[in-house]
């Protein structure tokens, strides 16, 4: 099978737009969580979210006009705009610009989203009810469909290879990268633009997740303290918006053109809980099996893992189940494992979480530093695993694993290895 490396990264997150801004702030221990003020929340139990800092595009702020013409933005939901921004960043970072028809055929797109255009669906429902079907925009459907993120990116950049999309709730971003890497390994493409995107910071989504009792409600007046994985006072996850997109490339293809290589995708594992629509299985067996499958594919043992970017959403049940599965996986090596949850800083980006966190894992490898778990003041369990409380930890990182688990009991793990030329 052909080997696959990562040659480009793109990020739009609550810590800003652009990989270096987001990463610098993450390592500095800054938080992107704030009180929601862009829509009515006084009747909602959860009033905190990870919100992208909008601005004129300077200082790492996000200016949608830099990535998509205003008249095009009007036709689509934000998840597509975020995907356009992150994909364009990743392609520019990679230096890959297909010119010939053959190069375009060999370059594909696989971008997913957990939910897609919920905000636009809500608005269109109101138009339909209040004004009737003749007032429904022709852009309603193509502006909400999840695969239109991949479609828009392919149209903008002329990418004519496989065009695909993943929808697996909070595992979407990880599945997108893993599946795209396989398309390259199998020879369906030489280069894939892959990742996840999500725009859930809207009233209907917050209300919906709050109804599932999944969101933090106890820190509405202290937003930066609301996401606190492994801490005894955690009470649910904090929703965040954004996109994380990578450029994956067949290894020899990347080396031949002298591309910068962030790391190699050496493992990808998938599993299902077959247990409950929203709750994780208490025994953590699904998490254990997807990590095991990824390591088997990678051909490395659990004791060789240096850093784990946890799913760690800050829910009372999920964090400890994942920790239990990791403990079972690594056995006696627990004392040398470092695991942190970057959701403590940006919240849970749902369909974008897995790809954003894959990028954090690759940057951890690049800079040899594990990002911190913010707000981990009083761990709820004792563990020999270093959960990187509050401050980043410089350390040697050769192999990193990133976990994602989603509603429906869908699990994915990715394993990356540092690239040595």
């Amino acid at each position: 099978m052909r080997r696959v490396v990562v040659t480009g990264l793109g990020l739009v997150t609550p810590l800003g737009s652009g990989v270096e801004t987001v990463w610098r702030r993450l390592i500095a221990g800054e938080s992107g969580l704030k009180a929601i003020d862009q829509f009515q929340v006084d009747d909602l139990p959860a009033r905190v979210a990870g919100v992208i800092p909008r601005g004129d595009g300077s200082d790492g702020t996000f200016n949608a006009d830099d990535w998509m013409e205003p008249k095009e933005q009007r036709k689509v939901d934000d998840f597509i705009v975020f995907a356009m921004a992150a994909a364009t960043q990743a392609l520019e970072d990679s230096g890959w610009k297909p010119e010939t028809e053959d190069e375009k055929y060999a370059t594909g797109v696989l971008i997913g989203s957990g939910i897609g255009g919920l905000q636009g669906i809500e608005e269109a429902a109101h138009v339909l009810r209040d004004k009737g079907p003749r007032r429904l925009s022709p852009f309603f459907i193509p502006g909400r469909l999840i695969n239109l993120a991949s479609g828009q990116v392919s149209i903008r950049h002329g990418l004519k290879g496989p065009n695909h999309a993943v929808v697996t709730a909070c595992s979407t971003g990880a599945h997108a990268i893993g599946d795209a890497a396989r398309l390259i390994a199998f020879g369906d493409a030489d280069v894939m633009v892959a990742g996840g995107t999500e725009s859930p910071v809207c009233r209907i989504a917050v209300a919906g997740f709050a109804a599932c009792k999944a969101l933090s409600t106890g820190f509405n007046d202290e937003p930066t303290r609301a996401s606190r994985p492994y801490d005894r006072d955690r009470d649910g996850f904090v929703m965040g918006e954004g996109a994380g997109i990578v450029v994956l490339e067949e290894r020899e293809h990347a080396i031949a053109r002298g591309a910068k290589i962030y790391g190699e995708v050496i493992g990808y594992g998938l599993s299902g809980d077959a247990f409950h629509i929203t709750a994780p299985a208490m025994d953590g067996d699904g998490a254990y099996r997807c990590m095991s499958a990824a390591l088997k594919r990678a051909g490395v043992s659990a004791s060789e893992i240096d850093y784990i970017n946890a799913h760690g959403t800050s829910t009372p049940l999920g964090d400890e189940i994942e920790l239990g599965a990791v403990t079972r996986l690594v056995g006696n090596a627990a004392g040398k494992i470092t695991m942190s949850s970057t959701k403590s800083a940006i919240g849970h980006l749902l369909g974008a979480a897995g790809s954003v966190e894959a990028i954090f894992s690759l940057l951890a490898i690049r800079d040899q530093v594990a990002p911190p778990t913010l707000n981990l003041d009083n761990p709820s369990v004792e563990t020999p695993i270093d959960l990187v409380p509050r401050a980043a930890k410089p350390m040697p990182i050769e192999i990193a694993l990133s976990n994602s688990f989603g509603f429906g009991g869908t699990n994915a793990s990715l394993v990356f290895r540092r690239h040595h030329a």
Partner: protein, 80 residues
């Protein structure tokens, strides 16, 4: 330019994101102003909303230029 022509021009500029000077009477939405077939559907909806009239599909198919729209609306607009 009539009041209706001004309002048509304003809608076209807003919806298609084009410079006002390109929106001449003979400008074709698709050939000159970069619209696609969905854009023209939305434009017709915007005209209906602005002028409080209904533009049937067979009439909409004959509205290809800025001038076509102005002429149709001068005849049919309820709020001209």
């Amino acid at each position: 330019m009539s009041d209706i022509a001004e309002r048509v021009k304003k809608i076209v500029v807003e919806h298609l994101g084009v410079d006002a000077e390109k929106v001449t009477e003979n400008a074709s939405f698709i050939d000159d102003l970069g619209a696609d077939s969905l854009d023209t559907v939305e434009l017709v909806m915007a005209f209906e909303e602005e002028f409080g009239c209904e533009i049937p599909d067979d009439a909409a198919e004959t509205i290809l230029t800025v001038g076509d729209a102005t002429k149709f609306l001068e005849k049919n607009a309820a709020q001209a």
